[in-house]
């Protein structure tokens, strides 16, 4: 029987093209995205058809998780420093420089003001383990949310008109909690709020959908 000789082929594949693709994708992701902000809790926001973008700066953000715990965060390190120093003198917290620094570079805080010293002296993992992420109290007897709003505004300095008040709440957050928060804002004479949502398409055949179709054609 004649043997058919198969020519031996090298198993080396040229990886250059694949490498190109990989780095192209890498560049794309590096340029098109930004880092996820630190979040103390995971929050799944509801979706709406609104397309207004959440601004990057001048935002007072109140995160509410599904158990109704409220966390406060604000951008700008100098502003955060002013806020915590104001709180420190007003409530006589006796924070040292390290704890102030911890607040300034940190992300969100959510704890009663009296626990703030212990809260800031701990690392994030210790807080979670120690159950200190209790959220800012919002009930009418001890409404510290109002204080945070007030000091947050005071720390903004001159450009008050640009400040946005955002509420980022979870799908499952009970409505009474939201109502408490809205009432607190109302009592501070803040009428214009922003609710953080995901984007969804307007459903077909509705007024908003027709408007969108109209703008697309022009």
């Amino acid at each position: 029987m004649p043997k058919v000789k198969m020519p031996r082929k090298s198993t080396n594949i040229d990886m250059t093209a694949m490498c190109d693709v990989a780095f192209l994708l890498l560049t794309f992701f590096m340029l098109a995205t930004k880092f996820k902000p630190d979040e103390p809790v995971t929050v799944v926001t509801p979706s709406s058809i609104n397309t207004t973008l959440l601004p990057d700066s001048d935002v007072l953000l109140f995160t509410v998780d599904k158990d109704g715990r409220v966390f406060f965060s604000m951008d700008g390190q100098p502003k955060r420093r002013k806020l915590i120093e104001d709180l420190n003198t007003q409530y006589k917290l006796g924070l040292d420089e390290k704890e102030i620094r911890n607040f300034v570079v940190g992300a969100s805080v959510g704890t009663p003001i009296k626990d703030l010293k212990t809260y800031l002296s701990m690392s994030e993992d210790q807080r979670k383990a120690g159950g200190l992420d209790k959220g800012i109290p919002t009930d009418s007897a001890n409404n510290e949310l109002g204080a945070w709003i007030q000091y947050g505004i005071a720390a903004q300095g001159t450009n008050l008109a640009k400040v946005k008040y955002c509420i980022k709440a979870d799908n499952e957050t009970p409505y009474p909690k939201i109502k408490e928060i809205l009432e607190t804002f109302k009592s501070k004479h803040i009428q214009k709020l922003n609710l953080v949502t995901n984007l969804e398409e307007p459903p077909k055949g509705t007024a908003a959908w027709q408007e969108l179709q109209g703008t697309k054609q022009h």
Partner: protein, 196 residues
């Protein structure tokens, strides 16, 4: 693939054959580089956010004690929507100032957030119906939607119903505290529908 000719044969020495140097392949094994590339891609994909979150404007009214500044809503142009537990929605036409209104079995109705046959259809129906009415100046009336959320409702329901207002371009709506009467109606409708 483009390869560079790196054989040490510069111009002149080619023909006369100088010292023969060994030809080294310039092919570099790209596999580790590809590995690294994909590792970084994975890292960036997991730690970053693609799209910025969107926001919904919510403008709340001022509390006013002054009777004259308060807006009065006509019974005929109002639609009241109640948010209950487990994503349930209830609605009735008008403001139900008359406590005997519920004597009519078709007065208080339950529905859902479904895309068709849900609360949206009802809002559209009422909107178009009210648009045919004329006020004393002969202008078309605007529907006024009153939103009342029960304590069992969650944030999603609240945003969803505000979103419905945006979807259907309802200009006038208000969120109002739920009344005892409304709670009673929700309770009785739940029992009638066998909800725990």
């Amino acid at each position: 693939m483009a390869e560079m000719d790196t054989s040490s044969s510069g111009g002149k020495g080619k023909k006369h054959g100088g010292t023969k140097s060994k030809k080294l392949s310039t092919r570099v094994d790209m596999t580790p580089m590809v590995d690294l590339g994909f590792l970084l891609i994975t890292f960036f994909m997991l730690t970053t956010t693609m799209s910025k979150p969107k926001t919904m404007d919510l403008i709340m009214p001022k509390d006013t004690e002054n009777e004259k500044e308060q807006n009065k809503v006509k019974e005929s142009t109002a639609l009241t929507i109640l948010l209950g537990k487990d994503n349930r929605v209830y609605y009735y036409e008008g403001l139900a100032q008359d406590p005997n209104a519920s004597a009519d079995p078709n007065f208080f109705k339950a529905t859902s957030f479904a895309n068709t046959g849900g609360i949206r259809d009802e809002i559209i129906r009422k909107r178009d119906e009210v648009a045919r009415l004329r006020n004393s100046k002969g202008e078309p009336e605007d529907v006024v939607v009153i939103i009342k959320a029960d304590d069992d409702a969650n944030y999603k329901n609240f945003v969803d119903i505000l979103d419905e207002m945006a979807i259907n371009r309802i200009q006038r709506y208000a969120t109002v505290d739920i009344s005892e009467q409304d709670k009673k109606w929700i309770k009785s409708t739940e029992t009638a529908n066998g909800v725990q």
